[in-house]
């Protein structure tokens, strides 16, 4: 079953009068439960593609259909709901809110998901337990190691139980042993929970080992 379809997807940025092409005519299909790695040099448009699928950005032209919904036709409000329930995003720099503890960071996503107070605390602890951070619930991001912070981010991405996990170089800031721990966690989510995973990475070797398929980008095009 196809969960994501892009048809002639084009994204251009405007820098003053110059138009900078980021994605050029991307047409791909992603099946439910697939683990896909997007590879390519920096500036090849990998992150742009991920942001478009994540609903953070809107395409300049072309179709982007996720779960039979055309994202370009959604209102800003509907797009926020899409980001909340359909996709979960993980970033290279973790993007945790520094003033909040691990549990509060996850709770914030649950607040947006409309989970009531008591339930929130239980769910947040459950998610932290699942990523192996049961004893780190009340630590702030500055008190966590890189690997731990990324686990919190993964737990947060799973807060509202989305179908799709989008990971933008999740191991880019981590050493190799921690990296493989994070990759293992993503594989586990893919295999055990059936999550569809699209991961942007530099590391072609590691990506080849775990993913079902590689999508290679160059200058905004699939090669």
């Amino acid at each position: 079953m196809i969960i994501i379809t892009t048809k002639k997807l084009i994204k251009q940025y405007r820098k003053g009068k110059i138009i900078v092409p980021a994605l050029n005519d991307i047409s791909i299909k992603v099946k439910q439960g697939e683990y896909i790695s997007v590879i390519g040099k920096s500036g090849s448009g990998k992150s742009t593609l991920l942001n478009l699928i994540g609903g953070l950005d809107t395409p300049t032209a072309g179709d982007l259909i996720v779960q039979d919904k055309a994202l370009q036709s959604l209102s800003r409000k509907e797009l926020a709901k899409y980001r909340r329930f359909v996709v979960g995003m993980i970033f290279q720099s973790f993007n945790l809110i520094p003033s909040k503890t691990a549990r509060e960071n996850i709770s914030l996503a649950l607040i947006f998901g409309g989970v009531p107070g008591k339930e929130r605390k239980r769910r947040a602890c459950e998610l932290l337990d699942m990523v192996g951070l049961k004893d780190r619930t009340d630590h702030k991001p500055s008190e966590l190691s890189g690997g731990e912070a990324q686990r919190v981010a993964i737990a947060r991405a799973l807060a509202n139980d989305p179908e799709i996990i989008l990971a933008d170089e999740p191991t880019g800031n981590l050493d190799s042993s921690t990296s493989s721990e994070i990759i293992d966690l993503l594989v586990k989510l893919n295999k055990q929970k059936g999550k569809t995973i699209i991961m942007v990475t530099h590391d072609e070797e590691a990506a080849g080992k775990v993913s079902d398929r590689l999508i290679r980008l160059k200058d905004g095009m699939v090669v």
């Binding site: 980001r83 809110i97 003033s99 914030l108």
Partner: protein, 460 residues
């Protein structure tokens, strides 16, 4: 909310702006409200809202003093209802009227413990017993009946005569020298004389040339009438004044038996008396403020002229409203400056938290939710500012009041409270502050909600 703590100093300074704004606003308005309250209380205490004055004709003193007497003559020709006992009786029967009595007052000489003073004597009926200032008789009691030879005296009158009351017989510390100290208990029921002047008809009849021949002896004679001092009316407090003039009061019927040269009405001087017009004015007490209007209308329909303070107060209230607005405007300026501070702080905060906003959007925060987050922060600044601002305002008014009273005390004036913080002012100030803060947070919140998440996540 928790963000407010992260940038403590900046938040404190922003809130301080609101504190000063609300402090200024609330103390200013409190002053206006306090002044109005003092006046209204004085009105209420004196039953001015339920007191009416009835005269046969309206007296336009301004017209008389300007020498324009042409209208006056016309007025004198108008048919009017004369004020006599039957009219007073009729007024008493109007529904809502509790007491109605003719106002009788004339100058007399008072003699007490070998001291004499000239003052005005007023007559009141027993029906006034429960009304201010007679309801507040310090020591002693009100008249037994309308024709007893009992007398009430103001504490102030005694003081003017050189007497000071002391409540405790052992108390010798009170002011001495200037005053003769008296035990209050010993004063009650002691003898006091009214000395009234009257035209000496018998003297004139006996020797008609006396008036012409004697330069020294005027055709007056003094009549000494012994009274008993039954009660003392205490010094009024605050801005108080009572509408009953005169230094001593005697029962209504008794007063009619005191010979006097009474003219208590300008009409007595200006023209011949109306046929059957016995009294200059009649005092009417209504049982409830709500009834005042109806009683006034009834009296007017009977062709009587009515003066009601409640009507005057409407004008005074309008004047106070203008004063309150002006005072409020001063406070408002401070609050507007504080609002600019809020806008500035919130915009700074958005700049600093751009990334955080991006994160919230990436995990599914909608624009509405992000707006709410910033609105709550703005409202919190307003709420905290208002609470402390009211505290500051209260403190300032207390200090101002204390300074004011310390000035009054050496002048032997009673302490007053110039300020008033009614509940509506407290709640209103809080609501207003929160509202202003929300308005100040409006633009920053909208801007925060519109942050582009892709750019925000790249932001450092």
């Amino acid at each position: 909310m928790s963000n407010l703590w992260r940038t403590k100093l900046r938040s404190v300074l922003t809130i301080l702006g609101v504190v000063i704004g609300i402090g200024a606003l609330s103390s200013m308005v409190s002053f206006g409200v306090g002044m109005q309250k003092n006046l209204t209380d004085a009105f209420k205490k004196n039953d001015l809202f339920t007191s009416l004055n009835v005269t046969a004709r309206s007296v336009n003193l301004e017209e008389i003093s300007s020498g324009n007497l042409s209208n006056l003559n016309e007025k004198l020709q108008e048919p009017v209802t004369a004020l006599n006992d039957s009219v007073v009786e009729m007024i008493r029967k109007i529904p809502g009227v509790v007491v109605a009595f003719p106002e009788i007052r004339f100058p007399v000489k008072l003699r007490f413990r070998d001291k004499e003073t000239n003052l005005t004597l007023s007559a009141v009926p027993v029906g006034m017993k429960s009304f201010y200032p007679f309801s507040e008789i310090k020591k002693g009691q009100f008249f037994k009946n309308d024709s007893s030879f009992q007398l009430l005296i103001r504490e102030k009158t005694l003081q003017d005569m050189g007497f000071k009351l002391k409540d405790n017989p052992e108390d010798t510390s009170a002011i001495s020298g200037k005053y003769i100290l008296l035990d209050t208990d010993s004063v009650i029921d002691s003898a006091i004389d009214i000395i009234s002047k009257d035209i000496d008809l018998r003297g004139i009849l006996a020797n008609p040339f006396m008036v012409l021949m004697s330069q020294r002896r005027l055709p007056f004679k003094d009549t000494v009438i012994p009274f008993k001092l039954t009660g003392i009316i205490p010094e009024r407090e605050g801005f108080g004044f009572d509408r009953f003039g005169g230094g001593v009061f005697v029962p209504l019927e008794t007063s009619k038996r005191i010979p006097n040269l009474g003219f208590d009405n300008v009409w007595d001087l200006l023209g011949e008396d109306l046929p059957g017009d016995k009294y200059g004015s009649v005092y009417v007490r209504v049982n409830d403020m709500k009834m005042t209007k109806a009683v006034v209308d009834t009296l007017k329909n009977k062709g009587l002229n009515v003066f009601a303070f409640s009507e005057e107060l409407k004008e005074i209230k309008r004047a106070f409203m203008i004063m309150d607005s002006l005072l409020g405007a001063i406070g408002l300026i401070a609050l507007v400056v504080a609002a600019l501070g809020i806008i500035n702080t919130m915009l700074m905060s958005i700049l600093e938290r751009t990334r955080e906003i991006g994160i919230m959007k990436s995990i599914g925060g909608s624009e509405a939710e992000i707006r709410i987050i910033f609105f709550v922060e703005a409202a919190s600044i307003g709420l905290i500012g208002a609470v402390f601002g009211l505290g500051l305002g209260w403190l300032v008014t207390r200090i101002a009041n204390a300074v004011m009273n310390s000035q009054l005390k050496p002048q032997d004036l009673p302490a007053v409270d110039l300020f008033s913080f009614p509940l509506w002012l407290i709640l209103g100030a809080i609501a207003f502050s929160v509202l202003i803060s929300l308005a100040a947070g409006l633009y920053p919140a909208i801007r925060a909600a519109r942050v582009d998440p892709v750019k925000a996540l790249r932001h450092d």
